[in-house]
Amino acid sequence: MNDIPVSTPRRLVELTIDGGTVRVPEGSTILDACRQEGIDTPTLCWAENLTPVNVCRVCVVEVENSRVLVPSCSRAAEDGMVVATDSEKVRTSRKMVYELLASSVDLDRADAEVHAWMDHYGADPSRMGDRGDIATVAQRPKVQDDLYVRDYERCILCYKCVEACGEDAQHTFAIAAAGRGFDAHISTEFDVTLPDSACVYCGNCIGVCPTGALVFKTEHDMREEGSWDEEAQSVTTTVCTFCGVGCNLELHVQEEQIVKVTSPTDHSVTNGHLCIKGRFGWQHAQS
């Protein structure tokens, strides 16, 4: 009785990816299988600590006998499946997705891998017209408190923040998608300011945002004044001081000042999620 009970052993399913045979436990996604085989796959709306919502479409792959491309992040691997991750159709589709996204929002501050993939596929957003005409880009950042900035001209509507605020982490449900078409945006209830909303300022939405649309105010201000320098930053992992849960904190330090706090997504205690104290309560370390 003393041992940790292990769940029923899972059957292995066998599929073919890019011509090679792959075996993964039943229930794995095609993305899991690709990662197991070391096949690099771009993602935007997927994260290891969130449930896939498959909206961004950059992880699509071609599955034999499937009419359309399928999102690898959420489609389960099946016995006998034949998958192509680098076919002409896949390359064209991924390139187009990046071009469409980058033509409607500002991806300048997106994760480095976004730019690497755009280069890889030769994506050219200017083909889609002048971004300056798009309503999304013509917004000013929302600065409503001293902790968060919401810079919606960078938002690709990947829903990661909504997931992190809701059932995947915080269960606060302060934000959701509102509006249709070009008006679609992430909003608080009735678009009230963040301090007036249900927000508890855990910052888990910022932790998962892939494009810099949600950003710590420290980082936003330093970027605006031109002093943000990631290359000059060190990252040290320590343990939060504020309660007994034992959340691990990654302190990003530039010139002996803490400029940002993140948490490792692969750590068993909270899988990268924090509360307001852990995320923002470090000012006393540099007063």
């Binding site: 001293d146 902790l147 508890v200 300022y201 001081t241 007994g244 034992g246």
Partner: protein
């Protein structure tokens, strides 16, 4: 998830059901739940027979705690008590988690024992997914105890009265260790009152703000011949000190370990250097030892001290500094290098035959809070924390939280109406120990007769002037959770 709390806290709102019991009736509720589990024939008899002692006596003891009587004392409807008892007893796995609402009472230890009874009745202990879990309020409360910062224990929870254990420490440290228990915090303050304790070295604590009945505590600190405070900020306690030793901030400026609620030992690492004259705490302690005439301390690193500890504390013996680093934390007990660490305790109760002695039921009697409600002090004040703040605000008071509402006395709608006070109004709040002014806030989910406040801003509202000086003689922990107060309108007081 069931939440049991006098207030409808954020956790209570999140839970499937909430039982809003009267402050200080935890034992009554636990005894009532136990009685219902027994009466409904839901006891895990196989476990009870094999792994426990004292069941028959316990069953007879709680027999008076019928649902009706439990409802009368706790204020929780009988149906809620019955449903929670049945849900707990029939769940495949179940945990009871608690915080200071259980321990900060004059019956704190008995409160915990009453919960232990429930886990023994149902066998929800010693198994994966089941158990009893005190949620620690600070990142290293557990680690402080683990390291012997208790008046009756050596590191690794070895009894100070255990000659064999003491001999091992004496051989390593090259000095004799007294065999008698020291004083706990409450006993230290009592000893200050008798002038038996005349010198105090306070490390990283702010008792001049955080003690219950704080006016009394401040007077006692003022009687000391000498007080040395080692801290990261000029706290109120530091302001009273004869000597202040500025220290590095543990979680940001020091290498070391902390131990979480789940007994997980994890590394803290220095990310920035300490400012100005602040020094690493290991260096401060070592230099103090040298000034007192000790030799050979040197300036050990945190890693070197940890490796020494693990030769002395069997439950840490398998946790090398390197393993803690590589594995990202290990849960004690971890007796040898190949041991993976222990996600839960008390698995021995499920061994066949049971390993060690069987677990005893405890017949614990409900006793109401010491600070009685009377006509003069008719409201029950309980204190607690807000999400964005921490204790006396020494650390958390320095960032600009958008959800901080400041210190307020939260009252039920009914009491606010009866007192004729409104939200935002400044009122006088008094207990048998002190009187302060506070701003009123109204919490419509509070039961009539119950008031609540945080204690994060002693400069705004010196809440611990009100809190109760009663304490649990078994643990030394003060009854922060149950003070009797009165609220007066300021103009009424001026008229009087």
């Amino acid at each position: 998830m069931w939440a049991v709390d006098p207030r409808r806290s954020a956790s209570a709102r999140f839970a499937d059901a909430w039982l809003g019991l009267n402050v200080g009736t935890d034992i009554a509720l636990a005894n009532g739940v136990a009685r219902e589990i027994i009466a409904a024939d839901m006891v895990n008899r196989e476990f009870v027979d094999r792994a426990t002692i004292g069941y028959e006596e316990f069953a007879a003891f709680v027999d008076e705690w019928t649902l009706e009587r439990t409802e009368e004392v706790t204020g929780v409807p009988a149906r809620g008590i019955r449903e929670m008892a049945h849900a707990y007893a029939t769940a495949p796995t179940a945990q009871i988690l608690w915080t200071l609402g259980i321990t900060e009472h004059h019956t704190g230890v008995d409160n915990v024992l009453s919960l232990c009874n429930l886990s023994l009745l149902t066998g929800h202990i010693g198994r994966w997914g089941s158990g009893l879990c005190p949620l620690r309020g600070q990142n290293n409360v557990q680690g402080g105890g683990d390291m012997g910062a208790l008046p009756n224990k050596l590191p690794g929870f070895q009894d100070i009265g255990d000659g064999e254990a003491r001999a091992r420490f004496e051989a390593t440290y090259g000095t004799a260790i007294p065999a008698e228990n020291g004083w706990n915090l409450t006993e230290m303050f009592e000893a200050m009152g008798r002038d038996e304790l005349k010198a105090l070295w306070v490390i990283g604590e702010n008792p001049a703000d955080s003690e219950a009945d704080v006016n009394h505590a401040r007077r006692l600190l003022g009687r000391l011949d000498v007080m040395v405070v080692q801290d990261v900020f000029m706290t109120r306690t530091a302001e009273m000190a004869d000597v202040v030793l500025p220290a590095a901030l543990g979680w940001v400026e020091s290498d070391g370990t902390v131990t979480s609620s789940e007994r997980r030992v994890q590394r803290t690492r220095a990310a920035i250097p300490p400012p100005g004259l602040a020094r690493q705490e290991i260096d401060i302690v070592a230099e103090m030892a040298e000034r007192m005439g000790a030799t050979g301390w040197g300036r050990p690193t945190a890693g070197e001290l940890w490796e020494e500890l693990r030769t002395l504390s069997p439950m840490h013996a398998g946790m090398s500094w390197e393993r803690i680093e590589v594995e990202g934390g290990i849960q004690w007990p971890c007796p040898d290098d190949d041991h993976p660490g222990s996600p839960f305790l008390h698995g021995r109760l499920w061994e066949n035959p049971v390993g060690g002695r069987p677990a005893p039921f405890s017949c614990v009697q409900w006793r109401p809070p010491i600070d009685e409600l009377t006509e003069e002090f008719p409201l029950r004040l309980t204190t607690g924390r807000a999400l964005d703040s921490y204790n006396t605000g020494v650390q958390s008071g320095r960032y600009n939280s958008p959800i901080r509402s400041g210190e307020a006395l939260e009252l039920s709608t009914a009491d606010a109406i009866a007192l004729g006070v409104q939200a935002g109004e400044l009122v006088s709040v008094s207990s048998r120990r002190g009187s302060i002014e506070m701003t009123v806030a109204i919490d419509a989910t509070l039961q009539a007769g119950l008031a609540f406040t945080t204690f994060h801003f002693p400069d705004l509202a010196d809440v611990n002037q009100l809190t109760s000086d009663a304490y649990d003689p078994k643990s030394g922990t003060a009854e922060f959770k149950a003070a009797a107060i009165r609220v007066d309108k300021l103009e009424a007081r001026a008229d009087a």
